[in-house]
Symmetry: none
Subunit: 257 residues, 2 copies
Amino acid sequence: MDMKVKEVAELVGVSIRTLHHYDQIGLLTPKEITDSGYRLYSEENLETLQQILFFKELGFTLKEIKKIINSPLFNRQEALILQRKMLIEKRKKVDKMIETIDKTIKHMAGEIQMTNEERFEGINVGFNQFEEEARRRWGNQSIDEINAKLKGMSKDEQNDLSDRWDMIFNKLACLRNQSPESQEVQATIKQWYDFLNENFSKYSLDAFYGLGQLYINDERFTKNIDQYGEGLAKLMSEAMEVFTNNQIRGGSNENNN
Amino acid sequence: MDMKVKEVAELVGVSIRTLHHYDQIGLLTPKEITDSGYRLYSEENLETLQQILFFKELGFTLKEIKKIINSPLFNRQEALILQRKMLIEKRKKVDKMIETIDKTIKHMAGEIQMTNEERFEGINVGFNQFEEEARRRWGNQSIDEINAKLKGMSKDEQNDLSDRWDMIFNKLACLRNQSPESQEVQATIKQWYDFLNENFSKYSLDAFYGLGQLYINDERFTKNIDQYGEGLAKLMSEAMEVFTNNQIRGGSNENNN
DNA sequence: ATAGAGTATTACGTTACGTTAGAGTCAATA
DNA sequence: TATTGACTCTAACGTAACGTAATACTCTAT
């Protein structure tokens, strides 16, 4: 099932060096390394690679891509949907360029006039709203950034933050036996949501949902969170899902029994 | 009418540094330089820049682009038409990628199966027939036999050689409609003969004749040479035959009408 | 057991600019 | 007229994402 470099390279159409490189910079680490040092890539590695190549095609740097796919907020499905949007934008851009070429040809034939702005339409649109969206969505939100934020704060401020963080988690840990939909849990989850928005960059509801998913999908998070109490990660992710659903279905008028 | 760097940069959406760079490498030299050393770009410069950006968008390197737009064979309208074709191919590629994303999303939802090949469709098509066509049409090609020789030379020497080589072939390609005996063709063939003798092992006239025959008998040569222009191999081999005959029959007294 | 195809690491090369740094230029204004 | 602020220049080092050897180990098939 596992594949060696050459196989992968030929399958996806990149060079072996590229795979080595991605490994070197920690962008795509093969799931396994044999005793003799051979890289073995898994199915999951291929999926990640697919993501990487999509983002690359859309003009992101490897560093950005690394941040994106390592981000606590990263959600594969969401990424795919955004990529789809971006590709449609790209197609529009290509259409614009074709149009510009057609105009230029006509212009050369003396059929029409062209302004200088017109002749660069499509070429200069240096990437659109969705790229922005993606950067906002995952780019800024890396762990490094949180750390950086912490660095810029005084000891007291840090402690304060850390205390409030702790409080919320401890509170939730106490509520582990309750259902994710319960009033108390939901109230605390709201505190968590507000806390994040207050202290870090804006979390959209989508992002918040994605974060919750991460808590059960990314082992690093699960482990960390479950230190507050066995099963807390699971509870939180479920509660966060309920929370986002309720919010989306219109303010807070809905029942959370 | 003439524009300074910043104006151009803002109009077309590239950095000032990019314009400096293009000037440095001789890709886009501003039409005029003021006494104080300011670059002034003309209308024509803008047109060239448009071409450059189109080719860049289509994945050509600056070196390739330079060769293309400096080539004696270069024709702006022809280029635009080819670029149009390439853009349409690119749109197809984008469509394919969108399709792949849709499939992937469905796949994740468990609705459909996907092969590994499928999941990389659109991403890996490393650029199509038209790129090939463009490279054949204007670009240079690799001559493996010569590479060994080139290895022993410095980079500058290599480039110099390659440029002269290119010049000769391009010149001949322009003369394709003339007869092999014509003055111009024969003069250029002499340049070719001298060039070979100067830079590679001594070509006796017999050897030169043999080389000419090779151009039509060995498909690899024919293909390579015809990249400069359809039928060039045939013309050259005929012209080389005429050349050797003339040389052997004593100096240059014979007619070459 | 030996060749041939594949793989690894190391390290320098390359492309297309980005990014200062230091200094001159130009037009409007005080 | 002097000054200021936006603009320009060259020079030179920095960076990203690999390419391209060079050298050495590994695996498999004969």
